[in-house]
Amino acid sequence: MSYRWNWSILFTEPYFGWLLNGFKTTVMLALSSWAIALALGSLLGVARTLPGGPLRWFATSYVELFRNVPVLVQMFLWFFVLPELVPVGIGNWLKRGLAYPEFFSAMLCLGLYTASRVAEQVRSGIMSVPRGLSAAARASGLTPAQTYRYILLPIGFRIIVPPLTSEFLGIFKNTSIALTIGVLEITATSRQIESYTFQGYEAFTAATVLYLTIALILLFLTRRLESRTRIPGWISRDST
């Protein structure tokens, strides 16, 4: 069987431009959904550690719900189902009023999904702060809110930096699922190049190299972050 290698295809227009745009889309989608995930996930994680009540119940249900449905299904729910369930006016705005409805749905989907994972990390971070510390905080007159603000959260977040960074890499990989609703990120772009040029090896290699580059850059950045935020004397546990 003969295969015509043609690596230069990757650097000719329009394919080079496509790859560049795909890369930009992946990065933008990952960063914007990470912002949602981190903010919402932290709130949910704190709520999961409250002594009880509706907030804790809500956070627990949220985590169970989002963790037990495949991301692809969630993607379809946000993109295809949500606009039909809301009032017609809002639905039409979601479908046609927005500049990039696919990007918007994907951002919402990945953000809300990853929030459930971040929430679990935040909860385990808060739980692994030694009990004596919060007891001491209460004994010295801090209110529960102040205990979270000055003791539990600063220590808890430093403990969970390593697993959080792997969630951060995970969101970059999960952006590829957005191709199913038509977001032209890296994987979708390489597939498009393959179907236009039949140069599958080159196209998929390009995508693979881009992802490996992202992973390497993130590895470098997170290593630095981890060594800066590590709590001296705290046994760092292996995170998978």
Binding site: L72, V73, K173, S176, T240
Partner: protein
């Protein structure tokens, strides 16, 4: 659109059930293959021969840096080329999932092995077992006992991930559902149903893992 009509689900139940069966089959193959090869790879990763350990590490890091969808595309494209004949998407998906999950299972198993005291393997060697025998009869049984809950949790995630074969039109549960949804123009009902089914399966399975892991906790 009109009012919701869940009869569409009931009408297409046999077709969807067929899809769900291939999802289960794919997940089962990938779980068995992934754990088997993951265990072998974990042993290689802990090998004292440097190049072997490095190669295993490279494999793991490669597959953990690249999205599963891209791996699925790679194998969908490569397997027919390598075999020289057209194959259905199932074979390439099964290979893609097994190779991908091997990397994840390997890391779980490695962590499980490393959490055991080093004396275990030394005692095995001291009592006359070879290194491989000590691994096989002393370390692995204990390590697997400790890591069963994590292995099961990873398998639930794997089952959810099988929905991604939608991108190569393998007729799993997700693809069947999307076919029905588009034929009947009932996207809302079908996708809600799909979400409910996945949720029920995975939620029940994760509850099961939780209760089960109490029995295993030390």
């Amino acid at each position: 659109m009109g009012p919701l009509d869940f009869n569409v689900v009931i009408r297409n139940l046999p077709y969807l059930w067929e899809g769900l069966q291939s999802s289960f089959l794919l997940a089962a193959i990938a779980i068995c293959g992934g754990i088997l090869f993951g265990a072998i790879l974990a042993v290689l990763r802990l090998s004292s021969i440097k190049p072997v350990a490095l190669a295993a590490l490279g494999y793991v890091n490669f597959f953990r840096s690249v999205p599963l969808i891209l791996i699925i595309f790679w194998f969908y494209f490569l397997v027919p080329l390598l075999l020289g004949r057209a194959t259905g998407p199932f074979l390439s998906a099964a290979i893609a999932f097994t190779m991908f999950e091997t990397a994840y299972y390997c890391e779980i198993i490695r962590a499980g092995v490393q959490s055991l005291p080093k004396g275990q393997i030394n005692a095995g060697i001291a009592s006359g077992l070879s290194r491989i025998q000590a691994m096989r009869y002393i370390v692995m049984p204990q390590a697997f006992r400790n890591m069963t809950p994590i292995l099961l949790t990873q398998s639930i995630i794997l089952f959810q991930d099988t929905s991604l074969v939608y991108v190569v039109s393998l007729r799993d549960f997700m693809t069947s559902a999307s076919t029905v949804a588009n034929q009947e123009l009932r996207l809302v009902e079908i996708y809600i149903f799909v979400a409910v089914v996945y949720f029920t399966i995975c939620f029940v399975a994760s509850r099961f893992v939780n209760t089960f892991s109490y029995g295993f906790s030390r």
